[in-house]
């Protein structure tokens, strides 16, 4: 996905990046979706929590955490969303279709763990 694989131009001098400015994960990384059940507005469906997948791409540009935005806090720290690939056989152990069938879903950085 060229859009999200887009590289920032390397600066010619050393710069210190702000927190959250650089994506923590990269395409190809193995990840697990966190298992948490906080109260509030969440854009992480329960059916993917605890499931294992792979980062397909980093989604640019960075975005405000919509769990904060859901309560009107729409400024401040931004982080990346990632396009995550999860096999349907991982989501549904009894899945009877092709083992190559999969889900693609965007997940905010704070919900991803290294696997």
């Amino acid at each position: 996905m060229p859009q999200t694989a887009r590289r920032k131009t390397k600066p010619s001098i050393h710069v210190v990046h702000a927190i959250g400015e650089e994506p923590i994960f990269k395409a190809g990384d193995s990840v697990r979706i966190s298992v948490r059940y906080p109260v509030g507005h969440y854009r992480v469906p329960t059916y993917i929590r605890g499931k294992r997948g792979r980062v397909e791409a980093v989604i640019e540009p960075r975005a405000v955490n919509n769990e904060e935005e859901g309560f009107g806090r729409n400024a401040g720290l931004k982080r990346h969303y990632y396009r995550i690939a999860i096999p349907l056989t991982e989501l549904w152990p009894k899945y009877s279709g092709s083992p190559y069938d999969g889900l693609r879903i965007e997940v905010f950085e704070t919900w991803l763990e290294r696997n």
Partner: protein, 216 residues
């Protein structure tokens, strides 16, 4: 009320009052009226936004697909950045979301869903169909996409990978269907007429020229 043909079960209900508004409808009306009253937004702005949304139809998506079929360089730009490629055609975006165009091939079939609510590429396809917003579709799309597609009349061969794209936050998707065979001499306008809304959701393939003639 004049007595009407009683064989019509629905005839008597046409003048019935609507059911009382739900909790969330009351909340929406209250917030909207307060925003107008406090002059945060104007009533005309709300009306205008509804007019903008209703002006968007699948014909826009079909135009994009047809352009991608005839212009490989446009297609490459469209797959690289859906937003800027659509803006080239004069289609602007009113939501602050990214637009990802997913290409169906001989080996991959993409399907769109929003399991949490009804995220949909409204700028490009207009309002989503009712079934797209209902729970059976939303649940089954991610759980048994092959059976679901078969019920829509689309059988995906076992050696074709299905990718179910769940739109949950900041991405909106559109499927770029495969160009049908037998359309080598078609104009861009003729090609666009083969592309339906459901083909751009990944429910069906684009119509073939024969299918189109039959449906006339």
């Amino acid at each position: 009320m004049q007595p009407h043909d009683d064989d019509h079960g629905h005839a008597k209900t046409t003048v019935q009052d609507d059911p009382p508004p739900s909790y969330y409808e009351v909340m929406e009306t209250s917030v909207r009226e307060l925003l107008v009253e406090k002059e945060v937004i104007g009533a005309d702005e709300i009306r205008h936004m509804l007019e903008v949304m209703d002006s968007r139809t699948p014909a826009l998506g079909a135009k994009i697909v047809a352009r991608a079929w005839v212009d490989p360089e446009f297609k490459a730009r469209l797959l690289a950045n859906g937003r800027t490629a659509c803006e080239e055609l004069g289609i602007d975006f009113f939501e602050d979301t990214q637009f990802l165009v997913l290409e169906n091939t001989e080996k991959v079939h993409n399907l769109l869903v929003c399991t949490l609510c009804s995220c949909y590429p409204r700028e490009i396809l207009g309002l989503p169909p009712d079934w797209y917003k209902q729970k059976p579709y939303r649940a089954r799309a991610v759980k048994e996409p092959r059976a679901l597609l078969a019920e829509f009349g689309t059988v995906i061969p076992d050696d074709v990978e299905i990718r179910v794209n769940d739109s949950t936050a900041m991405l909106r998707y559109m499927v770029l269907p495969q160009r049908p065979e037998g359309t080598e001499n078609f104009t861009e306008e003729q090609l666009a007429s083969l592309v339906t809304r459901d083909a751009m959701i990944g429910i069906v393939r684009a119509n073939t020229p024969n299918r189109k003639e039959q449906s006339r």
